[in-house]
């Protein structure tokens, strides 16, 4: 029998559907399932319609399914909007009874979501012990009243069937943004500075709450990036996160960090649309922009994760790379990965030390070296001159033609080293039928849906993790034996195809989605079948 359940819980903003979704996911996690939550909400505080789609499976699950087995409707709109995606034999639990129970027991209206969870849990045969222990962990206020409500709802509900326990490791659940923060912390993050912008804001919230780093919110994105450049110049590992609009404001300083050789990590979590776009929805429209961010002849590391474990790995890796190569690095992600919840079991990241000056002779910040990497020193210990102007070896401004060439050549040698760094990193991943002549290529958060749909059809899947420098060697290996290449992206112009064609790789077919909603494996499977 299949062990793959999808549950949709919805209501108005402020009714607690998101929190309820997380609790349901934790129940399944405790039962040994792999879980994934996709959250959909609008750019408003109260009212409107928000929902979470929780999926629990005995197999890897990195995406939601289009169809659901349960609809938990905290309001009527949830039923109207979503009944069409209910699987045959699926169950709708309406909000009427949960809110009656809350009223009978004089609870606050917000507690309706807890009554809903209890009814659902009983339907699927979750033990009261498991349910109550998770509720105790997850609810911070009025726990006694919430438990009283949950108990009544649980006791009066019929058990419809009993979901099986799975012998799987129980791992923590994290959002993509939390994973990004954790990866950076493990790579030695000292300072995170940001200006709030959905969908990157929760990195700031999470780090502020965690209190392991200095966290500041400053006046605008331009101040943010110039401030972290200052902090990194003074020797502290510094990072920021934003979305497209804020990232656009930061680009002059990305160029500054590149010429001044100051290490920073910038997260660009894409939202849909140009300009303000669709703030709380997802897209992959900033690929080429991120690769070309900052004026002048520069190379930066740009990488994009496909799930929370990769988000942790790439965030930490990019912070380490920033310091090893004294360069700006960009973690490119999107709303779907930033705010979705995943099971978390990453490969542990460690802080890697930067190249430091040996304290001999007179310090030259931009000393000429064979590989273009000059040892670092920090102000306060010796004289360190860094600048956004073209400069000589000591960091003095220059307009001299020979010095200009020598410095650009030094940076070009460093860019070559950055390319070589790819050999030591996981830059391209291959999944599925490795003998298949048809391959599907993707980047970023679409990995889950692409993998699931393609594997079902017996296809090969290629996921690119590092987008700059471009991992051409690894990609060519992955493409061996492929005679039909299909790209899948959430943008309308096929930016990955453009990048691939710049690197001499032809995409035969594109599947593009730009309704600001994430891919789902069912629709993608149908599209792939036609190709």
């Amino acid at each position: 029998m299949k062990k793959d359940y999808s549950i949709l819980i919805g209501g108005e903003a402020g009714q607690g559907s998101r929190k309820a979704g997380l609790i349901i996911a934790k129940i399944f996690n405790r039962m040994g399932y792999n879980v994934f939550i996709h959250d959909d909400y609008q750019s408003l505080i109260k009212g409107g319609h928000s929902f979470s789609q929780i999926r629990a499976s005995d197999e890897e699950c990195l995406t939601h399914r289009k169809k659901v087995d349960f609809i938990l409707a905290l309001d009527k709109k949830t039923i109207e909007k979503h009944k069409a995606i209910l699987n045959k034999g699926g169950i709708i639990i309406s909000g009427e009874r949960p809110y009656e129970i809350v009223k009978e027991l004089n609870g606050g209206r917000i507690m309706g979501n807890i009554a809903m969870i209890a009814i659902f849990s009983k339907h699927i045969g979750i033990d009261w012990k498991i349910l109550s222990s998770i509720l105790k962990k997850e609810i911070s206020r009025d726990i006694e009243k919430n438990l009283e409500i949950a108990k009544k709802a649980y006791n009066e509900t019929k058990e419809l069937f009993k979901i099986e326990k799975i012998k799987n490791k129980v791992s923590p659940l994290v959002t993509g943004n939390e994973a990004i923060a954790l990866g950076a912390i493990d790579a030695g993050l000292d300072i995170y500075s940001a200006y709030p912008m959905t969908p990157a804001t929760s990195i700031l919230h999470y780090l502020a709450e965690k209190r392991k780093t200095i966290t500041t919110q400053v006046e605008n994105e331009i101040a943010v990036i110039n401030s972290i450049i200052g902090s990194a110049y003074a020797g502290k590992r510094s990072m920021t996160g934003t979305s497209g609009g804020g990232f656009a404001l930061m680009t002059e300083a990305i160029s500054f960090a590149s010429i001044a050789e100051i290490p920073i990590l910038v997260v660009n979590s894409q939202r849909a649309g140009p300009a303000s776009g669709v703030p709380t929805y997802s897209a992959q429209g900033d690929l080429l922009f991120s690769l070309n961010s900052g004026h002048g002849d520069i190379v930066r590391f740009v990488a994009s994760p496909g799930d929370a474990n990769e988000a942790y790995y790439l965030s930490g890796t990019l912070l380490n790379l920033a310091w090893k190569y004294q360069t700006p690095t960009i973690l490119l992600t999107d709303k779907e990965l930033s705010e979705s919840t995943y099971k978390f079991y990453p490969k542990k990241i460690k802080k890697e030390k930067e190249l430091l000056w040996d304290n001999k002779g007179e310090y030259e910040r931009y000393a000429q070296t064979e590989n273009g990497i000059s040892p670092m020193a920090y102000p306060g210990k010796t004289i360190v001159k860094a600048t956004s102007y073209e400069h000589d070896r000591k960091g003095y401004t220059t307009e001299d033609a020979e010095t200009i060439i020598a410095m650009q050549d030094k940076r070009l040698r460093k860019f070559k080293e950055m390319e070589k760094a790819l050999d030591e990193l996981e830059t391209v991943k291959v999944y599925g039928n490795k003998k298949s002549k048809k391959a599907v290529i993707c980047w970023g958060s679409t990995k889950g849906a692409v993998k699931e749909a393609s594997l079902k059809l017996g296809l090969k899947v290629i996921q690119i993790l590092f987008l700059q420098p471009f991992p051409i060697k690894e990609l060519k290996k992955a493409l061996k034996g492929v005679d039909k290449l299909v790209s899948v992206e959430c943008n309308s112009t096929g930016q990955l195809s453009v990048l691939l064609s710049q690197n001499g790789i032809k995409v035969d077919k594109q599947i593009l989605k730009y309704d600001a909603r994430p891919l789902n494996p069912e629709d993608l499977e149908l599209k792939l079948k036609k190709i």
Binding site: T216, E219, G230, S231, Y233, A386
Partner: protein, 245 residues
Amino acid sequence: MKIETNYPNTWCPGCGNFAILEAMKKAIQEIGQEKVVLVADIGCNSKIVDYLNVSSLGSLHGRPIPSASGIKIANPELKVVVFTGDGGSLNEGISHLIHAAKKNTDITVIMHNNRLFALTTGQYTASSPKGFKGKSTPDGSIEEPLNTLELMMAAKASFIGRTYSSKIDYTKKMIIEAINHKGFSFIEVLQPCPSFFNTFQFYNEKVYEADANEKLIKEWNYDEKGRIPLGVFHKEERPTYEDEI
């Protein structure tokens, strides 16, 4: 360790910046060369970091204040001094000036006020007098100048001073006082630009070392009228941003 560098100086002959450089050299020698970090804007003023053998970060136009804040957060032991101009901090980066003052970030901002964009060969700034004839305003600027010190008062800067570039010792003393002040310190240095806005005679006649206080900020409104008071107009102790983080 020498305080000067061998870097060739490219300021115009007679530029007010030479005197500011002299004052700064003397100030740094008293404060301690290794403790100081200079953060520069873009503009004539910002060339000063090439002439001083001190740690420095040459930032982007309008952005030295956030860069300086980042340095101070990373290493509160450092004495962080920003060199900027009226173009950098009253036009391009005015938001940063206001926020750093409001936050009481423990840095010193020295704003060379020559009251125009000089390095781009003479356009009006937010500090230029109304009617200023520059290359972009051949018929005269139509905007009233900003009273910078009034702005700093409103933004809650905890140290506000004004000096005149030709008064080297006076400027040196004010810079030392500002650097030693715990909190955000702002110094406006009135500075003639012999190439595009020669105000030597104007300032020589108008400035006076005042027994300064907040009320005197209004004495001069960046126009032709009256005398121009110099001095520290406001000074208060309050917790710094870095203390509270």
